[in-house]
Symmetry: C2
Subunit: 250 residues, 2 copies
């Protein structure tokens, strides 16, 4: 573990999916923070799922995380994605420092958390413990309801927030400057476009600001370099966002 | 609206269910805070669902809430239950003030939020927009998975946190003193006992600390008075926790 101890931040997350860990990675990468993605190290260096679970079950922690991702920095171990970002945003200059702005950013991030929970449950409406194939019938019923009701409700809301902010000086979530919520929204738009390409193509005309924000975030120099690097994990069929064409068939 | 303006806090939530609003009410009540439950006022006084929606859609807000509950205090309007409690906990003396403690409390509250989302989805596994009766088949499949896997996983986790803290000086979530997370856990245990009485009776032997915490919270003088008052809403078949015996039949 000697290598990891030299970094300011240790991220612990499942090594084979972007998942919820990606929201933390985007913030660390955009800030140019010094971090190590612990579970992607070899087991011999304290990595792998073995290293992840060893830290999660470490009985000396002040509070055991319920699930990954969690972030270690100094003596602090912080779990819950939105909680990690609330902490990092202020430290890394990716959120205004005043309390009202921090509360607004966190409120938006928690709404994103609710949304991606629903995205996950489209392909797993019965239980996380069952394979998709064993709950496909229920997924096939849930998917058109999600596409018809929930995507418009959530993305319509986020587009409206950007529209109002635009009139106030910047089509970002907290105003003129990019904050961690904008980075997270990039991942949401990218993930939905991967999982529901047909639905998103039909809906594109209604979310011009969200699509422009996605492109703006992707072009940020540090993130463009990250997205092209081997550190970045592509979407796949084990993550939150999955490409099952039969669920994008409305 | 004159009456509401004299209170320190205005809570906005659906007037007929305990729901997520109840987690905020418990904290305000235990602290003896001066607040008004706006939507439970008559419409003529700015209340009702009409008053709730008028504030939610008020275009002059710095950030529109996605959904109730939200809390207004001074110029701040804060949405997302866990965000509201993160804000109130520090202000009302229901959370230690140091950053590591606040992060831990919030991490636990967000884990409770995930859990109650799953509780809701037991009776609404397809869509919030459909009646229970129209997704009962799917609910009947999801319920035993929830009872068999998720209740033990979440309550086992929370019991373990209390057990470790007990060895450190107090079987509460943040140590010796009651914090807002303890109040929320009271509501979770009460709600599960209402919705899944058979499952909870079987599981009782494994969660002695959670059950003792429930009783300790219920006996706190301000909360005992609140729970016996007309301000308190009982569980019912429109809320998060619903008593459908066919879903508690494993």
């Amino acid at each position: 573990m000697a290598e990891t101890k030299t970094e300011a931040y240790e991220l612990y997350y499942w090594p084979n999916i972007p998942g919820r860990g990606e929201f933390v990675r985007l913030t660390l990468e955009d800030a140019g923070a010094s971090y190590v993605d612990v579970a992607r190290l070899p087991e011999a260096q304290g990595g792998g799922v073995k290293g992840l679970l060893a830290m999660m079950r470490n009985e000396s922690l002040a509070l055991e995380p319920f699930a990954p991702p969690f972030l270690k920095t100094g003596d602090l171990v912080i779990a819950q994605t939105a909680n990690i970002l609330h902490f990092l945003g202020a430290r890394l200059g990716l959120c205004p420092e005043d309390e009202p702005s921090r509360l607004r950013a966190h409120q938006l991030q928690l709404t994103i958390a609710d949304f991606i929970g629903e995205v996950h449950d489209v392909h797993h409406p019965m239980a996380s413990s069952l394979y998709y194939e064993d709950q496909k019938n229920e997924a096939m019923r849930r998917a058109p309801l999600f596409i018809g009701e929930r995507i418009p409700k959530y993305l319509g809301y986020f587009e409206r927030v950007l529209q109002r902010n635009e009139a106030r000086g910047g089509a970002h979530f907290l105003g003129a400057k990019i904050c961690y919520v904008d980075l997270s929204m990039f991942q949401v738009v990218a993930g939905l476009s991967y999982a529901f390409p047909r639905a998103m193509a039909r809906f594109a005309g209604k979310i011009p600001r969200l699509l422009a924000l996605h492109d703006e975030v992707a072009a940020r120099p540090r993130l463009a370099a990250y997205l092209a690097s081997p550190r970045h994990l592509s979407f796949n069929q084990q993550g939150l966002f999955r490409d099952y064409p039969e669920l994008d068939n409305t």
